[in-house]
């Protein structure tokens, strides 16, 4: 039986030895930070144009995570590729022949890639926050203020969880192309659109990204957003349930199906 530390070491070698890891994670970091800082600077410059209500509920913390909506897509690509390339390259057969215990294989892979994604997510989140606050100047907030640290840490957790969710989906679908074809439009379009449609909103707010992103808000109804029936941690909890479901589904597929 291949021991868990051995499988973890092997998965780490796999992850660090392909350039897609570097590029997707750098993209996630750069896109989130740059877009967050740029939007913060823009909002700072045009603050007086905002409506009364928007000014009243201005959430400088949430604004610094505006880039997440694009940056998370790079995290999706990272998560999908980590699992999907095993299938597209045929490496899965070599891997499973070497690690016949499929649970050990999949969970080790997700652990290594997930921890890496969480670390990059946290780094992104903190850099994004401090850079954006610098851009906001006087309108910015402080890491020591109420709930701000929770939002910043939550922003990092959100990025990591998105990646792990994608790994689970890719393990279920066993294909990078299929997974990306479903996840990218979902996170970028479907979820955003449905959350703005009155009837669908009640359902859409339980989607993983909609629920999870609540953790990044300090002001509950910032920038005209509807208050959700769950708190920030409740929202993250809903997202964690989605992630667990995806990973469990991926494991069941891997366990049942022939490689």
């Amino acid at each position: 039986m291949a021991s868990v530390p051995a499988v973890l070491a092997s998965e780490w070698t796999k992850i660090r030895s392909v350039s897609s890891t570097t590029w997707t994670l750098i993209s996630a970091f750069a896109v989130t930070v740059v877009m967050g800082a740029a939007l913060s600077a823009l909002l700072n410059a045009t603050f007086d144009d905002l409506s009364e209500a928007e000014q009243a509920t201005f959430d400088p913390t949430f604004v610094s995570f505006s880039g997440t909506i694009l940056g998370q897509l790079a995290m999706v690509v990272f998560g999908v590729l980590v699992v999907g390339t095993e299938y597209s390259s045929g490496m899965i057969r070599t891997s499973l022949a070497a690690v016949p215990q499929r649970a050990t294989f999949l969970f080790s892979k997700i652990t290594v890639a997930g921890v890496l994604a969480l670390l990059v997510g946290l780094l992104t989140s903190f850099v994004s926050f401090f850079l954006s606050q610098a851009m906001l100047g006087d309108r910015g907030t402080d890491i020591g203020a109420d709930n701000v640290l929770r939002a910043v840490v939550g922003g990092g957790l959100y990025m990591g969880l998105i990646a792990i969710f994608s790994m689970g989906v890719a393990a279920m679908l066993r294909s990078s192309m299929l997974s990306l074809g479903i996840l990218m439009p979902f996170f970028f379009l479907v979820s955003q659109i449905l959350s703005a449609v009155p009837g669908a909103k009640d359902v859409a707010q339980y989607f993983p990204d909609q629920a999870g992103s609540k953790i990044m808000q300090v002001v509950p109804d910032a920038l005209n957003s509807e208050p959700a029936p769950y708190g920030p941690w409740g929202g993250l909890g809903i997202m964690v349930l989605w992630v667990l479901a995806a990973v469990l589904g991926g494991f069941l597929v891997l366990k049942r199906r022939d490689a």
Partner: protein, 394 residues
């Protein structure tokens, strides 16, 4: 030792492997033969625990693969040469596999040297040729110094030097007392490498015997007899005499007779006895490839059509005699017309027709020197050059 008992794999209505039972013993190279789609790879995957059998089981050293302790140190496998992430270097690919089994990194460099990839070890494997991919796959199989080795089509895409190397490697591994199980669809390759053969077709076991036994059981000696082309009645007379003497006569395309069951001197005596001249009487041995094709005939899933050729081949003359298969009652029903390749020596090469001088077409065919005039009376020494140019348009 690999042992399969009643191994069966169904995909929906299609049965890929059907009640397959065999043993692969240590200390020998066991060839696993079958046409494309006969279930070789499926069987290999079931041995490695990648596919779950619908029925039956397969064990390695008495254990199912999935419950082997530290499988990579006991079993090495080459399944798919392209089963490598293209963006990963050969060395990192092997390193990730080595770490799984607690194999030191030094061993990675060692096997890279063994397969001759040390110079490209740090290059991305997407740039590898099929042959280099095979070598990388073989390196992965050798990594854990395992006692049991499985190779699925290991010589695919290898150059002659590589094929030679793989053959020797297999024999060496077997000589060290390891179990070596090699699949192939090339009988000729297996005849050179394997000690034992397991032949399957449509997922069923067709033959399980040593190569020596396989050869003696399947390769029949025969004699080719050719009579003058101007005497069809001589042919008829000789055929009747040969059958009467207990021989078995088949007609070959081209008019020759293929005779089995009679020694050459006896055929000559019989011909002399019925006053028939012979233009050819030659000994031949059926190739192993032919024996294998006969064995798997009718069990080939993907067969290329030979429709176009059938209309062009003359019908075998023996068909008219009503007893084309000869005198043996136990003779298996076989097509009277045997394939031409392997049996029929091609006619001696006819002298090539003299190149027709085509001075007019020359400038057209060779635009690189269109200004060259085509002299009406050119010396004959220029004829080869002319031939070259007139051939170009083809």
């Amino acid at each position: 030792m690999i042992e399969a008992v009643g191994l069966t794999k169904r995909y929906g209505a299609k049965t890929a492997v059907d009640d397959l039972s065999f043993q692969v013993r240590p200390g020998a190279v066991t060839g696993f033969l079958g046409p494309n789609g006969s279930g070789k790879s499926t069987t290999m995957r079931m041995i490695l625990g990648l596919d779950r059998p619908t029925a039956g089981h397969v064990t390695i050293g008495g254990h199912p693969y999935r419950s082997l302790p530290n499988a990579p140190r006991q079993v090495g496998a080459l399944l798919d040469a392209k089963g490598v992430h293209g963006g990963r270097s050969a060395r990192n690919h092997l390193l990730s596999l080595a770490q799984l089994a607690g194999i030191p990194a030094a061993r990675v460099d060692e096997v890279l040297g063994v397969v001759g990839l040390q110079d490209v070890a740090r290059r991305r494997s997407s740039g590898f040729s099929l042959g280099m991919g095979q070598r990388l796959g073989i390196a992965a199989a050798l990594l854990g110094d395992p006692q049991v080795l499985l190779f699925d089509e290991p010589v695919n895409g290898l150059d002659p030097e590589g094929i030679h190397w793989v053959r020797n490697l297999m024999k060496m591994l077997a000589a060290e007392g390891r179990t070596v199980f090699v699949s192939s669809h090339l009988m000729s390759e297996m005849a050179l490498t394997a000690d034992h053969l397991i032949v399957i077709g449509r997922g069923r076991l067709l033959s399980d015997m040593s190569v020596t036994d396989f050869i003696s059981a399947n390769s029949a000696d025969f004699a080719r007899v050719r009579v003058p082309e101007d005497g069809p009645e001589d042919r008829q007379k000789l055929t009747a005499a040969l059958i009467e003497a207990g021989g078995r006569v088949l007609s070959e395309p081209g008019g020759a007779l293929r005779v089995t069951g009679l020694p050459l001197p006896r055929i000559s005596d019989l011909a002399h006895g019925c006053d028939v001249r012979l233009w050819e009487l030659s000994p031949h041995q059926a190739s192993l490839e032919e024996a294998y094709m006969r064995l798997t005939q009718g069990l080939v899933d993907y067969r290329s059509s030979d429709d176009a050729k059938a209309g062009l081949v003359e019908p075998p003359p023996l068909d008219a005699y009503g007893n084309p298969l000869g005198g043996h009652a136990d003779a298996p029903a076989e097509p009277v017309e045997v394939p031409q390749e392997g049996w029929y020596a091609p006619p001696p090469p006819a002298p090539r027709p003299a190149p027709a001088p085509a001075p007019a077409s020359s400038p057209v065919a060779e635009p690189s020197r269109p200004t060259e005039p085509a002299p009406a009376a050119e010396p004959s020494s220029a004829a080869p050059a002319k031939e070259q140019t007139s051939k170009d348009p083809r």
